[in-house]
Amino acid sequence: MELFINQVLAGISTGAIYACMALAVVMIYQAIDHLNFAQGEMAMFSTFIAYQLLQWGIPYWWTFPLTLIISFAGGIAIERALFKPLGNAPVLVHVAGFIALFAILNSVAGLTWDWTIKQFPTPFGNAPFLGSQLISTHQAGMIGITFILLILLFVFFRFTRVGLAMRAAAALPESAKLVGINVSWMIALGWGMASGIGAIAGILIAPVVFLEPNMMGGVLVYGFASAVLGGLTSPFGAVMGGFLVGVFENLVGTYIPGVGNELKLPIALALIITVLVLRPGGLFGRTFVQRV
């Protein structure tokens, strides 16, 4: 029983990483109706910006908001420079754009900050949390911040007019224009917000996985998986999906013989496919009914 509880706790703490990334995925999906494959690299790049600011001697609690602002502006700049000109091009053209962005950010980060693994500080410390060896204070802090982000996003989409306008612009751009919404800027704002959330995710993840240009490779796959599992339309679902994937992955690795660390990923992904076959909207996503 103790082994079980320990594994669940460990799963929750890795799940927090996935949950954080999944929130950024949901954010961009709400704004542009696609997944952005460069999301992980954008988060990695933001983390390197934070790293650079810290190197220059700027205190952590100044670096944090500063990185957020830079990432937000950077996200908007990327949308304006790269994706707005693509306009109504087919989805595959956008996908090519995402992949290009992925490669560019990865190489530029490697070129600027080299490919060696770097330590990244945590503001929460690394002591055992409430006496548990499995969850550190950093991971507890990460779970806390993920939930704060989740609540902020929920309030933004559900109760603010900008949030409503953003959802409308993503769902039905033409109708959104007819009620007077500036769809183009809504998309840019979505990019900025996703980039900002990605920056938070990166800064929180870096102390765990260490900072290097490829740090987000695995995390983004899990982030996508969590978002799809929980429902791409629901920030709450994305976070729950993140924790579920983390816990499931750990339990399977522990209890099913022969799985171990190597086969954790495929089994977790198999679970996701199963869920999607049975509930295509994700576990927490709203299923939309359409009259025909």
Partner: protein, 237 residues
Amino acid sequence: MSTMLAIKELRSYYGQVQALHGLELSIREGAVTTLLGANGAGKTTTIRAVCNMVRSTGSIEFEGKSLMGRSTESIVQYGIAHVPQGRGTFTTMTVEENLQLGAITRKDTKAISSDIEKMYAYFPVLKQRHTQQAGTLSGGEQQMLAVARALMLRPRLMLLDEPSFGLAPLIVRDLFGILKKINLEDKVTILVVEQNAQLALELAETAFVIETGRIVMSGNAKEIANNEDIRKSYLGY
């Protein structure tokens, strides 16, 4: 009454194909005007051109200000509400969210809530379903929602694209009754594009008949309705 919307020499294109060939149309403030014509005559293109949703040349003036070259979303700010073909319902959102979206450009947040109540008074069925996902409404209910959403702008001019499309005759009568009421009580000028000529001519004061991208006839709606030759050759009833 003064002219609210004046369209002159309007030519519109879908790629290489020209859909309107120098169309001329004017709408008086406070009136209900109808634009009639067969499928493919250019009715939808005309009102899409007003909101700059199709590439056009010529002149479109709203209260003396040119609308040409302005973005769709900025034209809305003049108080022009467009109920598009197919209703443009945000099907994944609730009925109430759809109404709020209609008023998204307005700053007077307090008046918006009272306007939503007013819409529920006009269309009681929307009140019963206000938390329901809009995509689950019937065709008639969605059309009412589309009209209500447009009214949430507090528009000066409302453009309706075939509001009767796909609706049962009784529901169409209801809807046109409400449009008349909106025109009289809320002083909204209305341009309604229709294939259902008979009903549209009852509602409107002025009618325009369009054929292959040109206005071929215009005048008093009653006279057009009573002129058997016109009815037979252009309106098909």
